[in-house]
Amino acid sequence: MTATETLHTTPLDALHRELGARMVPFAGYSMPLQYPAGIMAEHLHCRSAAALFDVSHMGQAELVGEGAAAALEALTPADVQGLKPGRQRYGLLLNEHGGIVDDFMFANLGERLFLVVNASRKHLDFPLIESVLPAGVRLRPLPDRALLALQGPGVAALIPSDLTFMGIAPMTIAGIEVIASRSGYTGEDGYEISVPAERAEALARALLAMPGVMPAGLGARDSLRLEAGLCLYGNDLDETTNPVEAALTWSIGKRRRMAWDFRGAEAVREALDKGPPRLRVGIRPEGRQPARAHTEIRAGGAKIGEVTSGGFGPSVNGPVAMGYVARDHAADGAPLDLIVRDKALPARVAPLPFHPHRYAR
């Protein structure tokens, strides 16, 4: 039996193949890495017009019942209870040591919370959430819904709406009822669109038929999010990283920082008080040579960290990376050596994002 026989497929699998996608295994799914245009063209098209991504592998779920928001707060330092209806927020699920179990989006849809978690972590996240729910609150995974992301500066004209960045609402697109949030993973304006699986292909075809929309795969998604300074779970975040060293302290609610009533709070509080020994930073290698994930970072000959995401940024037109460095070396402009194939590649700590966010605020 080959590995591909055990892979899940998304509702858009046939469409990907029709469009000539190069399919690769990712988080247990067969997913499009790129289409014939290639990663570079897909990336640049997303920055200049609009790109459609299939992200149906991600885990969608609803949390329903009296006290759902308070229940979720047991596992995340985000302010869930304070989130207004029609709004979405970014959060972290933590373990007892303050390590990050997953990063996720949660939205207030009025009578229920809507969650989107990482494909590679949903098998852990959902049982974890269920384990803390009181009677009367239920988690309902939504495996029968697909998720499409339409991203780029051209999207606002294609799908006009009153939503601003991180707004979410039910709407009708091309005659299909969806739940759309004004958000994404590219640094651009756009929507993430949750749609029943059986309507996903019709919706994707309708979106691709709109002027200037091009399909884009996981390759472009990765280079876009890296330029936007956004973390990839498994690369930049894992169970050994805490929110403070990951530079995600902003995702901790103010009220939560008074009460410290979430799992892992003690460790997070200590990291905040003492300052973490290492920090996630942006890194710009000199020249054109990329430094990939797991590249050792040195300063003055000593190992001070490791690259967690790295590659070539098509919009930056140069190599970009993120990684963790010792706090003394985390200031913008601090010189670093990246050890690529046994040679020191000079680099500097650089502010994130590498490419400015252009959200519909």
Partner: protein
């Protein structure tokens, strides 16, 4: 100009007088995607057949390029530093990587175009 010979590692070579010009095949550049950087060997380096001597980086990954024959590196394609995209647009022409002065006869496991095409079929 002599005909191209191919390796199972998806390099090509072409004899020009007494040096062999080396690059990666159209199949290889297509599999790699957009090339953004090449790390070329030092001039004068003595290499063994099958030795990793260059690295080609695409947007998504880095891949080794192997010396198809033993010999000495006598020239590298410096133009690739500024225009690595030549490897995608013209892999067997302007996208050449380096030239080797062979230290002996060509190995007999190099394939001609038909044999390489048949080899690619076995990978599909």
């Amino acid at each position: 100009m002599s005909a191209l010979k191919f390796t199972k590692d998806h390099e090509w070579l072409r004899l020009e007088g007494d040096v062999a010009v080396v690059g990666i095949t159209d199949h290889a550049q297509n599999a790699l995607g957009d090339v953004v950087f090449v790390d070329l060997p030092e001039l004068g380096r003595e290499v063994e057949a099958g030795e990793a001597v260059a690295v080609v980086e695409s947007v998504k990954a880095a891949s080794d390029v192997y010396a198809p024959i033993a010999g000495k590196v006598v020239e590298v394609n410096a133009a690739l530093a500024e225009e690595p995209g030549r490897i995608n647009s013209d892999p067997t022409g302007e996208g050449w990587f380096f030239k080797i002065a062979p230290s002996g006869p060509l190995p007999d496991d190099l394939m001609d175009a038909d044999a390489y095409a048949a080899f690619l079929e076995t990978l599909a």
